[in-house]
């Protein structure tokens, strides 16, 4: 007599938990979704994976002209391009992960209405794609640094994965929230690029956080991305370490956003197929 097979009980009540265990069960699928996107995105484009380099490069040039040349932004001993690129890499990891996750349910409606697996796999795999792009962009950063003669401190570089993980966690938290919200409120889909743009200018991407007037600083630091970007920049080019409190705040925000996001996601998850 074989073991009694598992019994699946399907009821009207939503299931308990945050879905993390279920997400672990579909980890292979989640990874492969990301791989599918990466593989297919650059197929049949002339530049291929070069786009992952070109996007931060172009943004860096724009920032260089606007902030560095016209705005004459002072960035201490560090050349402005290196300064801007280090901010941009962290920011683009965050923004493309958030955008991708936000759209992930809407753009996978076909799957959503035809087959069931843990739905968290959609936003999470979308954030993973952004990580791959960030890795490619890090290569660009290394080249630009060598070219401008800025050497990173090896000890600080060791902290880089931790800081990137922090940026990733923040993005995943916001992304999970947005994924569920965008599916229900399609208006958000159009508002999202605008929101991201505003968010970028209220984060220290093209300028150092120290340039923010003191009376605004407290409000400014409520943006958890501030601490994460400053910390990332510090691992790359050194200078003053960002205040510990802002990094801790970013970590706390990431944790809170992700758990509440997952809880909200679970709450509305059962209606996804009906509103998709």
């Amino acid at each position: 007599m074989p073991d009694a097979p598992p019994v699946l009980r399907i009821t009207a009540e939503r299931r308990s938990g945050l879905g993390f265990v279920e997400l672990w069960h579909v980890r292979e699928l989640t990874l492969f979704f990301a791989l599918r996107e990466i593989k297919s995105r650059y197929r049949q484009t002339v530049l291929g994976v070069g786009w992952a380099v070109l996007q931060p490069l172009m943004a860096m040039l724009v920032f260089y002209v606007v902030f560095g040349r016209i705005g004459k932004m002072a960035t201490g001993s560090v050349p402005y391009p290196v300064f801007a690129l280090s901010g941009l890499i962290a920011w683009q990891l965050f923004s493309s992960a958030v955008t991708g996750a936000g759209q992930s349910l809407v753009s996978n409606q076909g799957l959503l209405t035809k087959v069931y697996f843990e739905r968290l796999a959609f936003p999470v795999s979308a954030t993973l794609i952004a990580v791959v792009d960030a890795m490619v962009a890090l290569g660009l950063l290394a080249i630009v640094m060598v070219w401008s003669g800025v050497a990173p401190d090896p000890l600080r570089v060791l902290a880089m994965p931790l800081v990137l993980a922090l940026v990733f966690a923040l993005a995943a938290g916001v992304g999970v929230w947005l994924a569920a919200l965008v599916l229900r409120f399609r208006d958000l889909r159009h508002a999202l690029p605008l929101l991201i743009q505003l968010w970028m200018f209220t984060s220290p991407v093209g300028y150092p956080a120290s340039r923010v007037p003191a009376e605004w600083r407290l409000l400014y630091d409520l943006n958890p991305v501030v601490g994460a970007i400053e910390a990332f920049r510090w691992t790359v080019i050194g200078g003053d370490a960002p205040p510990m409190i802002s990094v801790v705040w970013a970590a706390v925000a990431a944790l809170v956003l992700f758990t509440t996001g997952a809880a909200f996601f679970q709450r509305v998850e059962r209606t996804f197929a009906d509103i998709a």
Binding site: R9, I10, T11, A12, F33, L111, L112
Partner: protein, 416 residues
Amino acid sequence: MTAAITIRGLGKRYARHGHAPAGSLNETLARWLGRAPARSDETFWALRDLDIDVPVGQVLGVIGRNGAGKSTLLKILARVTAPTEGYAEVRGRVGSLLEVGTGFHPELSGRDNILLNGLILGMSRREVRAKFDEIVAFAEMDRFIDTPVKYYSSGMYMRLAFAVPAHLDADVLLTDEVLAVGDVQFQAKCLGKMKEVASGGRTVLFVSHNMNAVADLCSAAVCLKQGRIEAMSSDVRSVIRTAIAAGGGDAPRAEWRAEQVGEFANPFFTPTRMAITDASGVALPMPLARDVPAYLWLEGSVEREDPGLELGFALHGEGGELLFWSTHTDGPPRAWPPMPAGRATLRAPLPLGALNEGRYRADLICSLFNREWVFEPGTKAPTLTYAVEGGLSESPYWRSARPGLMAPVLEWERVG
């Protein structure tokens, strides 16, 4: 006998407009956040009070007309959608096959798509790898396995798409109309595989319009009608007879009118009336004689001028088989009826001369060419049924219905 599936008091309620309103912020915010129950006239039960026991090894056919709740039942068991009340228990590993090729990506190779599809269906990477050669052999395509699937012929694509789920080791298999696609040969192959699965002691829930396939494959059948059980028995033929009688019992609804303002409302084309009529739009009495000209008449309002707007209908035969699609842009562009915003009335002659006696169903279809469906075939859309009887031919030798979907009168001549 152990039950593989136990269903008790299962019900599913939908909002009447289904997914139609795309949910703009101010519309839904209040309802959603306030979690106020939707008014009862805005909802309907797609499924209600269902009690079913499926013993291990049974192949249960689920039949019934469109909208009877068959797909909803399957979607609940596949966990795609949640029930509103009641519960279902499924013992063992569930494999659901609600469409073939779920998640297939055109840019990826056959190899990658096999893995992806397998993972989506709940296999592990190791399992897919172990079954890989078997899958490729079944799909007969080892030569093209590293070619992106967008270069596949539709036949190849379908073979591959079916091959993956066919090799899923599930205790309980849920399938929906999978056999309605592909050419005859492919269908025969799928049926063969389904039989193999069924005789292998696995439990199968098989939703289909194809009564022959149900009679052939199933050891029991349940007929749903308006979300409730109409008949259920291991005497499959009797259930099929009930289903056909239920379908034939009510008169064909050869005219459809929007029941209330805003029904099927969408940003592109809102239909208000669809009917089988004479040349001036007056509904014809049923059944239609074949020698009387009849038109498919369509009224509605074009909400927004769009160069890609395509209106048409899908015609189905008695067994639910698709006969053809027709749209108003089928002719040369200069002959297309113009579609400016505003009220529009269209008609198209029905090719009665080619169709045999029988009952037909016409579903409205509407799309923005190559961009999106407004009314996608197989989803909720205005629909009507009509019957053709008599007037087949002027020949004294052709008095009664012949077998076949078509019954054209061809012009025979002697040329030598």
